[in-house]
Every structure is written in structure tokens, then in C-alpha cells.
């Protein structure tokens, strides 16, 4: 048993692909002029089109098409010269047309790439209505009824399907974060998982390590946070591994992840789930992006995380890990750039350390974990000023940390804090020498050992000076002075 468990890790390789839906940030719905909303009273944004009244006809939202093109271009896709909307037929109370308008055999875009992962396709479709299963909440008696809210029905969605290029749960989570940052930079969606404007399903299968075929896959739904995505995929890999280890076969099915227990339950039988009887939507003409539309989409693309990482590494000289950290978190990257701008005399990698290292750590120490640098009290120019003061030796590195802690707590100007707290670097060597003298008296034993040729014994002496100076002295200078005095 043990032997089996130990080897199965290596015997199977997980193969993971993601299917992502993002709600676009248009003003109106995909095929009608009803306004998008979040959190309004139910059924106040409806019309004959999104309620599927007979005889009503859809018209495509131009802004939604442009956003979809921007996303497809950002993902390095080939845009289809003509793509066609299709009806995906299914019977469910969230869609009274009994079909969803989507795209099928000719999607908007195909064959793209983001980072290490290839993109299979990108297409446009519409969201369904929201169902509240009232029997669960017990608001009305009797069981098995749903209340339907059509505010969400018809919200423009872009579906992005990756190739199965991911190999472990953590990589899937990281890649999804890169995708989210990319779409957020474009401004095409709020990409908020809690609010449902970013949703992710995962296709998971295992195959013998070293093989290139694909095993039977399952589809995981309802993983509505980045943490759940990682945990859900990990749980499914373990479940499939146990099935294969027992010599049984994985059944192709859709599974629902329950974040509370971490369990996976089967959603519905597949023969029903996949019998959508797609056919071209006769009410909508083909979408043939013109040169003008493509040019407009291309021009409105901002610098994307992958490009930003490249620039940080090549032009600003940041190490790869730090370039990634700052580029893939757009807010953090923007903050970093504002500090860089405000402190032209300080090298960018030094500022990267201040932002991604010292400031993030100081926020964590101050229990302001939820606070990003951008939402903190520390203004970018103030941090730039502190970095410059430290570089010029006006504050010691220890004192600079105290100043930063004060800035995190109350904001404000670093120079004012230095003056108020008396944290300026001691540059009067007479004053420092006097303190060194007192240190040698107070820590006579340690001083004797240093004199006797044990350089490691210097610690208590340096500590004394630092306490006396409240960290205003630079450690290297203190050490030098003590050694000089002791002739060591």
C-alpha cells in the first residue's frame, strides 16, 4: 500500500485546462439596451428581448464586440474574419428562450497564448438569469421552487478556453491571476470572483507520466475564489489518482466543488448535459471585424502584464522574480512606477525592494495586511524621498525602517518624521565616538574578548551603541569605530 502511494505521485501527470467566463463592463446587455446592474432589486432591468418574449429580436452590442476583440488581441489570438452566433439549446428556468446565444464552430478568435499557456478559443455569449432556490432558504413553503431574477440575463460574457497546458493546481491559480490582471488592465471587466464577474471551471485528467495521450477528464464547477480553484483541482487530482490506483476508470462528468468540506459531487448526467443541439442563430448576422474595429481595439490596448514584466527586467534592471511580482499585480506595479518617477536618483531595483519588500512587510507588521501599498497612507513620493534619504546616508537603514513604520501608521513626510523623532544619521563623529567609549566601559568583558582576537564578540558593543543612538548610526561605521578603538 505504502509503496503504491509513494510511486503513484510519479506514475501520473495531471493535465489541466481552464474555461473562464468574464462579464464585460459594458453599460448595456449583449443583445438589448437594458442597463447592467449589480445588487439592484430583482427584475428592474428587463425588456421583451432579455425576457424572451415571442417576436423580439436581438441586436449585438458594439462595445461588447470591441472588448472581446481587445481580450482576444491581448491573448495573441487569431481573429476570425467572420464568426457566427449559435443557439445552444437547453431547458432551464434561467433562460426562457430555451437557448443561450453563444458561438460554436466559428468563434470570434482562436489559437492564442498567454504566458506559458496556449489559448484554444475566445468567444462571445450572453449570461443567464439568476435563480434563487427558495426551498433551501425556506422563504416560501412547499419545496422545489425557484425565484428568477432577469437583471443578469443577457449580460455580455467572453468565454476563454485554454489548452490543457497546466500541470499542477498552483500553476493553474497563478495563470488565472495573470489572466485576471491582463483583463483588468484592458478595463473590459471588473473580473471579481466574489461578484461573479470572473468565473472559472477546470478540466482535469491524469495520464501516465511521460505519455502524451489524454486521460478521461472531469469538469469542475463552482470554484469561486483563487484558493478554491487550487484546492478543488488538488482534490480532484487525488480523487482520480485513487480511482486509477484501484484499477478503476474515471467517469467523464461534471463535478461541483463544495469549499466547506472540500468534497466533489456529481452535478448531472453527461448525456443530457452535452446534448445542446447547436445551430446558427438565424436572428443575428455574422460578425466580421473590420480593419477599423481591429485598429480601434489594438490602439486601446494598454501595456499588458507580460510586456510590463519584460520592460521591468530589460529597461529597469529588475530581477525576474521581482519583475513578475510587480508586473502581474497591476496596482502594485503602478505604485512602484510612481515611486520611481518621484526618485530619479535612486535605482529602480532599490525602489522595487522598498515597495515589494520593506513596504509590504511594514504593512504586514502593522496588521494592515488588507492594505496594499496603493491603499496605504504611504504616498509614492514620500517613499521615494525616504529611499533617496537612505541612499544619501541621511538616515541609517535601521532608522529608515522606523521612519517607514511611522509613515505606515500615520502617513506624512519622511524628513519631518526624522526631525521629530531625532532619527537623523549621526554624522558628528565626536558624538558617536563618545558613545563608543561608553559602550566599551559598559561591555568591558566583550571588549576584552575582541581585543583578544575574537571578532564575533563585538555584538554586545554594537548593540549598546545602537540602543543609545536609537538606530541612528550606520552599523558598518559603528563596527569600524569600535574595532579602531580596540585595536582589533
Amino acid at each position: 500500500m505504502n509503496e503504491r502511494g509513494a510511486t503513484s505521485e510519479a506514475r501520473y501527470e495531471p493535465v489541466i485546462g481552464l474555461e473562464i467566463h468574464v462579464q464585460l463592463r459594458t453599460r448595456t446587455k449583449m443583445f438589448c439596451g437594458c442597463e447592467l446592474s449589480f445588487g439592484d432589486r430583482p427584475n428592474v432591468h428587463t425588456c421583451p428581448i432579455c425576457l424572451a418574449h415571442p417576436g423580439s429580436l436581438p441586436t449585438t452590442n458594439e462595445r461588447a464586440v470591441l472588448y472581446a476583440l481587445e481580450i482576444a488581441l491581448a491573448l495573441d489570438c487569431e481573429i476570425a474574419p467572420r464568426s457566427i452566433f449559435a443557439r445552444k439549446n437547453y431547458f432551464y428556468p434561467d433562460n426562457p428562450k430555451a437557448y443561450q446565444i453563444s458561438q460554436y464552430d466559428t468563434p470570434l478568435a482562436t489559437a492564442g497564448r498567454l504566458g506559458e499557456v496556449r489559448i484554444h478559443r475566445v468567444h462571445l455569449e450572453e449570461d443567464a438569469a439568476k435563480l434563487v432556490h427558495v426551498s433551501e432558504s425556506g422563504r416560501i413553503h412547499g419545496s422545489g421552487e425557484s425565484l428568477v431574477d432577469f437583471n443578469r440575463a443577457g449580460t455580455p460574457l467572453v468565454e476563454i478556453v485554454s489548452e490543457p497546458d497546466l500541470r499542477d493546481p498552483a500553476a493553474a491559480r497563478e495563470w488565472l491571476q495573470l489572466l485576471r490582471t491582463t483583463i483588468r488592465q484592458i478595463g473590459a471587466s471588473d473580473v471579481n470572483m466574489e461578484e461573479g464577474s470572473l468565473r472559472c471551471d477546470a478540466n482535469v485528467s491524469l495520464r501516465p507520466a511521460g505519455s502524451s495521450g489524454l486521460g478521461t477528464k472531469t469538469e469542475l464547477k463552482n470554484m469561486n475564489s483563487f484558493r478554491f480553484i487550487e484546492r478543488g483541482i488538488a482534490a480532484e487530482i487525488e480523487r482520480q489518482r485513487a480511482i486509477l490506483d484501484a484499477g478503476q476508470e474515471v467517469v467523464q462528468e461534471t463535478l461541483h466543488f463544495d469549499p466547506r468540506g472540500g468534497s466533489l459531487t456529481s452535478l448531472r448526467s453527461k448525456e443530457e448535459a452535452h446534448d445542446y443541439r447547436y445551430f446558427p442563430e438565424p436572428d443575428l448576422v455574422p460578425l466580421a471585424p473590420t480593419e477599423a474595429m481591429l485598429a480601434r481595439a489594438r490602439e486601446s490596448l494598454p501595456e499588458l502584464p507580460a510586456e510590463r514584466r519584460e520592460r521591468y527586467a530589460a529597461e529597469l534592471g529588475l530581477a525576474a522574480a521581482q519583475a513578475t511580482q510587480l508586473a502581474f499585480d497591476a496596482e502594485l506595479g503602478d505604485y512602484f512606477e510612481r515611486v520611481v518617477e518621484s526618485a530619479p536618483d535612486v535605482d529602480a531595483p532599490v525602489i522595487a525592494n522598498w515597495v515589494a519588500g520593506d513596504l509590504v512587510a511594514a504593512l504586514r507588521d502593522a496588521d494592515q495586511d488588507g492594505d496594499s501599498p496603493a491603499s496605504s497612507r504611504v504616498e509614492p513620493p514620500a517613499l521615494g524621498k525616504l529611499a533617496a534619504m537612505a541612499q544619501r546616508g541621511e538616515v541609517s537603514s535601521g532608522a529608515a525602517r522606523s521612519v517607514l513604520a511611522a509613515m505606515v501608521a500615520e502617513g506624512g513626510d519622511p524628513r519631518a518624521i526624522v526631525e521629530r523623532e531625532g532619527l537623523g544619521q549621526i554624522d558628528d563623529s565626536g558624538e558617536l565616538e563618545a558613545i563608543v567609549g561608553r559602550a566599551i566601559e559598559a561591555e568591558a568583558e566583550a571588549a576584552e574578548r575582541v581585543r583578544g582576537g575574537n571578532p564575533k564578540a563585538i555584538g554586545p558593543l554594537v548593540g549598546f551603541v545602537m540602543r543609545e543612538t536609537k538606530g541612528r548610526a550606520e552599523g558598518a561605521e559603528v563596527t569600524r569605530l569600535i574595532r579602531e578603538r580596540l585595536g582589533a
Binding site: T28, P42, I84, L131, S135, V148, V285, P286
Partner: protein
Amino acid sequence: MVIDREQVLHVARLARLELSEDELETMAGELSGILEHVDRISALDLDGVEPTAHVVALDNVLRPDEPEASLERERALAPAPDAEDGAFRAPSPQAR
């Protein structure tokens, strides 16, 4: 017949339609007729003919992203056989 009784039952089930025995027979005949017509078209030499998804020779009928008035909620709910708390009430798919 191209379409048999079982296939009609399957499609009826997907569309949540309840068909009588007589209707099953009629449907099987009519659906088969449609597919036989498609078969006759397929028998033609269609090499080099673009598949026609749409009969109208138009592309890109788009509308600007400008809000239009939505229905008053009371009006939207008025035709519903069953409404509750400002929402449409429907049999829960779970309880089917």
C-alpha cells in the same frame, strides 16, 4: 423513416415536451421528412459552395452601447403565471 420513436422521445425529453402516442408517430414522420429533404440537398454536388449560416447578405449589425428604458417591473411580471417577491417563480430544476 430516418427518425425513430426513441429519438423523438429523447428530443421531446430535452425540450420537456410530453407527447401522446399519436403525436410521437406524427413527429417521427414530420422530422424524418425534414431530414430526408436535407439528405436530398446533401446528395447534390456542393463542392466549392460556402456553407450558408444566414440567408441575408449582411455583416456586423451592431448597436451603440447606449441604455434604453427597461420595462416597469410590474409590467414585466404581469404575464407571469406565478410571481413572488418581484420575481418570476418557476419549478426548481432540482426538484424535477
